[in-house]
């Protein structure tokens, strides 16, 4: 049973990748926007900024004023990556040293706490509920469950069949709902950096007539 589920995880990963690729191709089918206006700044510097300094809380009022939520988001994602790495170690499989497992466990616990915290915020705050659809709750719950099961399996009891089953569900769900931002995030940040970099808004080192 465990072996079947293990192959199920691999199959779900490939199905997810294929559907995500199809989604990208469908997105591409809308056509590119041509850019004819002469640039004032350097778009590459803008993209570099978007993934570096531009992610820092002091650069973004939205992050600075909601530091706890912003940091919880970061923590949550570290937890997800840790759980994914742990899943990989079970599926391939390969052995992780004790220290690596300990680090992954810390990240997973922190990630799960933050994920549940964000879910709580979405459920309790009226303005967050106004933004949410069922997908927002399902995606969060599914990922939280995945992280928690990964942690439990790594530290306490053998939950591999349940972990693999939840992993299959989660992997298949990725392209269908909001979790697909895991791919589109990178493209959006590139576009953000490209737009403001080309126009000479960011990074500020591009500003002319600086005092």
């Amino acid at each position: 049973m465990e072996t079947v589920l293990r192959y199920g995880v691999i199959a779900a990963f490939f199905i997810s990748a294929v559907v995500l690729t199809f989604l990208v191709l469908k997105t591409l089918s809308f056509g590119r926007r041509s850019l004819n206006a002469a640039p004032r700044g350097n778009w590459k510097k803008g993209v570099f900024y978007a993934f570096g300094q531009g992610m820092m809380p002091w650069e973004k009022e939205s992050a600075k004023n909601h530091l706890l939520t912003y940091m919880a988001g970061f923590c949550y994602h570290f937890g997800i990556f840790a759980a994914l790495f742990y899943l990989l170690s079970l599926v391939i499989p390969f052995a992780c040293g004790k220290m690596v497992i300990n680090i992954l466990q810390v990240l997973m616990v922190a990630g799960a706490v933050c994920g549940l915290g964000l879910l709580l915020k979405r459920s309790l705050k009226q303005f967050m509920r106004s933004l949410s659809c069922p997908d927002d709750f399902i995606a969060n719950l599914l990922v939280d469950l995945f992280i928690i099961l990964s942690f439990l399996n790594s530290s306490l009891i053998n939950l591999k069949p349940i972990l693999f089953s939840v992993s299959i569900l989660m992997l298949l769900y990725i392209p269908t709902g909001k979790i697909r931002h895991c791919f589109f995030f990178f493209y959006s940040r590139i576009l953000f950096g490209h737009f403001f970099g080309r126009r000479g808004v960011f990074p500020r080192s591009q500003h002319q007539f600086k005092g």
Binding site: V19, T27, A63, F127, F184, F192, R199, K210
Partner: protein, 444 residues
Amino acid sequence: MTKNSKNEQSFDDRLDNLSEENCLIIKNEFKKLINYDFAAFLNTCVHCGLCADTCHYYIVDKNPKNIPANKLGLINKVFNRYFGLFAKITPALYGSKVLNKDMVKEWVDSLFGRCTLCGRCALNCTMGINIPYIIRAARGALAAARLVPPGLQSTVDTAIEKGNNMGIAREDWLETIEWLEEELQDDVDDPESSLPLDKNGARLLYTINPREAMFFPLSISAAGKIFYAAGESWTFSSANFDVTNYGLYSGDDNAAGLMSERLVKSRRELGCEELILAECGHGFNSNRWEAPEWLEKKYGFPVKSILQVIAEYIKEGKIQLDASRNKKRVTLHDPCNLVRLGGIVEEQRYILKHAVTDFVEMTPNREKNYCCGGGGGQLAMTRYADRRLETGRLKAEQIKDTGAKIVVTPCHNCIDQLMELNKHYKLEIEIKTVAEIVADALII
């Protein structure tokens, strides 16, 4: 019933009686306006809500409809319903919606009435989603079904029909220039000084916001005085002088392209080297950044803001300023289209440091500055006037906090809004353009 209220009533009637055919037009146009970038953005929003209190609408009024992600969400729901992969099968799971009469009404109210396209949410989005550009695309889809709120649509129509958004007749324009030229000659005590019209081969073609000719002639005089002091070779066009482009706000790319093309044509016919845009935020964004995309061509000549020109004059020593002539405390309002979306950030500060003795920044400032509330076509859409004044409270508080007696802003749209805020919030300030402040300090 006034003509204005009749138009508003007729617009509401049209919204109430929208046919499925109208909705189909909007849907099809929306599909045409969505490109790869926008589709990628629409796949990215995670509804984190961090954009909420970066929007001046939401800061002032905690109505969830004012949250940028909810405005984007209205578009995303429709996008997912028709062009998404899975939302067609299980719409309830993703909150996707059909574009019907009710949804169109929501689009009009939120996308026109609750957004100034200022871009502050885009700057603060953790994902980097360019929300105002997607909202503009959806506005464009509404424009295809003639569902742009009357005041904004009539501004576009007037510009298309009459050549400028105020409908100024050619003879009136020529008369205004003639009168202002006499004023300039008196002011600089030089009968040879001029406000040239249709001067072939001039280096610069200068454009204005038609409101300057109608209500703020001093800002035209100020620019003329600066050009005179710098010994510049420049000209106005008698045919095409309007820097504004409300097609940017209505979302109608065809109308917007037509308006911008006129300036390109006049520059070519007059043989000018550069197109210089007056102090107008959206005019700058339109003609500098968007017009080459609307017209699908590279310009091959520089398009600059007058601020860039003035800053260069100061730097190169072509004009001399005596800052002590402007002793009152001055603050600066950054127009969104010029600064956050246009990249002209430091020129105005460089100029003011040379032109006034007491300059103080607002908090926040530069690309992080708050919109005054008058952008996005809000000043033209009378149906949302109350919201506009209410959202302007944030700007009024920013101004009060500086203790400034003069607010300088390089945008006539912003000036109009600031004048209303001045009255509404009893700010007791003077509002000036950068050129006016420079003209006051000019040593001739």
